[in-house]
């Protein structure tokens, strides 16, 4: 076998070994290759530890919500700047003394408590989906707050938006 052939064989053997090791199900190396393995429950437990000063039901009330619209992210895909549905944007009326930070933390605490069974979810609660951890961000928008509730999976984003729309519809 010539040096060139040996070198070629080495490269092919290495590639085959890499492919085989990466594709073995149940192997510990595969576990290490997986991304953030925290479950929604684990994340809720992390968050709820910060929630002592945020009583349940303070900010997740229906009466605070004024409007709902879809929350999109825009990504460049092929030759298009494509919208990706991520969830819902809720416009909340301000309450005296309520800061953006307190609103965001309060809603995150609400989500964590409901996920852990420490509080009951409201009907069509847009700040909670069973078995899913949602990104909740609050921002100031003029004389109101804007809360974005986002999921990564499209089906979850769709569910958040539907829930938010039904949630605000029940205000009236």
């Amino acid at each position: 076998m010539s040096p060139t052939e040996r070198c070629s064989s080495c490269a092919w053997t290495l590639a085959a070994a890499l492919a085989a090791s990466a594709s073995l199900p149940g192997c510990s190396i595969v576990d290490a290759l997986l991304p953030d393995a925290r479950t929604p429950t684990t994340r809720a437990q992390e968050v709820v530890a910060w929630c002592a000063e945020f009583p349940e039901d303070s900010v997740a009330r229906r009466s605070l919500v004024e409007t709902v619209e879809p929350a999109y992210s825009y990504v460049h895909a092929a030759m298009l700047r494509e919208p990706r549905l991520r969830g819902a944007r809720l416009r909340l009326r301000p309450a005296p003394g309520l800061s953006r930070e307190a609103l965001e933390r309060g809603l995150q605490c609400h989500q964590a408590r409901v996920l852990l069974g420490m509080a009951a979810a409201r009907d069509e609660d847009p700040y909670f989906l069973p078995g899913v951890w949602l990104d909740i961000e609050a921002d100031s928008e003029g004389a109101a707050f804007e809360v974005a509730v986002r999921a990564t999976a499209y089906a979850d984003a769709q569910e958040v938006l539907q829930r938010a729309r039904r949630f605000v519809a029940r205000v009236q």
Binding site: W12, P35, E69, P70, V75, R81, L85
Partner: protein, 456 residues
């Protein structure tokens, strides 16, 4: 947003929305992140109200069984160097969007800046060295958005073509090295495009462009084409392109036409099972050249192509890929395709001493010499080829993909780089090629490809 920067989603206040009124922007009604040639990311990290930044890094390593001594790959627009870690593409830039104005620019650094422009012979038409002027730009276009229909955009500049389904951004593709249908069709267009979103599911996009992957124009007439993109459901996407142009030197009567149609189907999707999705893509291209001694069908032979007895000049190709996802993190793909291109007008010209086109670049002052055995791209020649490949993609986060694949290519004429390479007896461009030395072209190529793909 494809519809434009100012499209406004419907807000609701105290009224239940119809079940299907989830999102009114084009193609936002479903999850299309699984498509071949599209972006799987759910969000842009570098997003601001007026600028969405983007960075693409594409690094590959490939090893051919032929082990060419000059480390050069022949016949691809995604692979250029063999047995070397190669920065194939570094692109940075992004989208500007303010009210109704829009713009996009992306750089083109890495080997692609020499590998893609070299296929454009129009740059030898006239002066000012368009290859040098534009090689570091992959996209540079801008224009205006109207809130008509579901959005209308008019852009001018350089934009990507998407003839052949696969994306120029390998991050978006199911495989790193596509079949000929994608590898041999244009990557970019230079011209004007009108994107019209007629409904939430349908886009029609006519173009007026300089030519088929050309910076300049060969003759007096520009090229014309259009794309139709139809996504009636979130499990189906149909993409169709056509093009007509006059893209041959000194042959203003030679007319090229091309059609490209792809269907991508997701026929299984269950996020809760071990296999989370199965999908496949199918592409068929048919085209030809007509006039000045060539025709779609013809019986002429090389050197004897006449208007009365034209030589065959056509492009017929197809490819299909099947992909299985295991969660969001792993996916495997298997596929392949074929092409038949008598008169070789879409065959990617080999490089080095087999190059049939001028090589104006030099390396540290060493000028390329005239090719000693230029590849024959004359009318009347034949070229038939096929390929298959399979690969694994590891996608631990939305911003990174590791790709490992195996690819076999085969042609009925010598075409791929053999062990002797295409450069010189020792593989260096500084070594003179003795009389009679010929580039080593062979009929098949087997290779392993590994790629690191990063996108922000």
């Amino acid at each position: 947003m494809s519809a434009g920067p100012t499209a406004t989603p419907a807000a609701v206040s105290a009224a239940p929305a119809p079940a299907d009124d989830l999102a009114r922007e084009p193609f936002a009604f479903g999850d299309f992140s699984w498509l071949n040639g599209s972006n799987r990311q759910s969000k842009a990290l570098l997003d601001t109200p007026i600028f969405t930044g983007s960075l693409l890094l594409d690094v590959n390593y490939s090893a051919s069984r032929n082990m060419p001594i000059d480390n050069t790959v022949v016949g691809s627009t995604v692979l250029y160097r063999n047995s070397e870690l190669t920065v194939a593409f570094l692109g940075f830039g992004g989208d500007l969007h303010y009210e109704h104005a829009r713009g996009r620019f992306m750089t083109q650094l890495g080997v692609r800046s020499t590998g893609v422009p070299r296929n454009d012979f129009s740059t030898f038409h006239g002066q000012y060295d368009l290859q040098t002027a534009l090689r570091y730009v992959s996209e540079a276009n801008g224009g205006y958005h109207w809130d008509l229909l579901h959005g209308v955009n008019l852009d001018a500049g350089i934009f990507m073509s998407y003839v052949g389904l696969f994306s120029f951004a390998n991050f978006e593709n199911w495989m790193y090295m596509p079949s000929y249908t994608s590898d041999n069709t244009p990557w970019f267009f230079n011209g004007v495009r009108l994107q019209m979103y007629l409904t939430e599911t349908l886009k029609i996009e006519p173009w007026i462009i300089n030519g088929w992957q050309t910076y300049g124009k060969f003759n007096e007439m520009p090229g014309f084409g259009s794309q139709v993109l139809f996504r009636p459901a979130d499990w189906l996407s149909v993409l169709s392109n056509w093009y007509v142009g006059w893209d041959a030197q000194d042959q203003p009567g030679l007319f090229r036409w091309h059609t490209d149609t792809s269907g991508t189907v997701s026929y299984y999707h269950n996020p809760k099972t071990f296999i989370t999705r199965i999908a496949s893509s199918y592409t068929i291209d048919v085209g030809g050249e007509q006039g000045d001694g060539v025709a779609f069908t013809g019986s002429g032979t090389e050197g004897h192509c006449t208007t009365a007895n034209p030589c065959a000049a056509r492009f017929v190709s197809g490819m299909m890929y099947h992909r299985v996802w295991f969660g969001d993190t792993f996916a495997v793909t298997v596929g392949g395709g074929f092409m038949s291109n008598p008169s070789r007008y879409l065959v990617l010209p080999p490089t080095g001493n087999a190059s049939p086109v001028p090589q104006p670049l030099s390396t540290q002052g060493v000028q390329y010499v005239t090719a000693s055995s230029p590849y024959d791209l004359n009318p009347g020649t034949n070229f038939n080829a096929w390929d298959y490949s399979f690969g694994l993609q590891y996608m631990p986060v939305e911003q990174f993909t590791f790709d490992l694949e195996w690819n076999h290519r085969q042609a009925d004429v010598p075409y791929f780089a053999g062990h002797g390479g295409v450069t010189s007896p020792d593989g260096y461009i500084t070594t003179p090629t003795p009389g009679g030395w010929r580039a080593d072209l062979v009929k098949s190529d087997d290779r392993v490809v590994a790629a690191w793909l990063v996108r922000f």
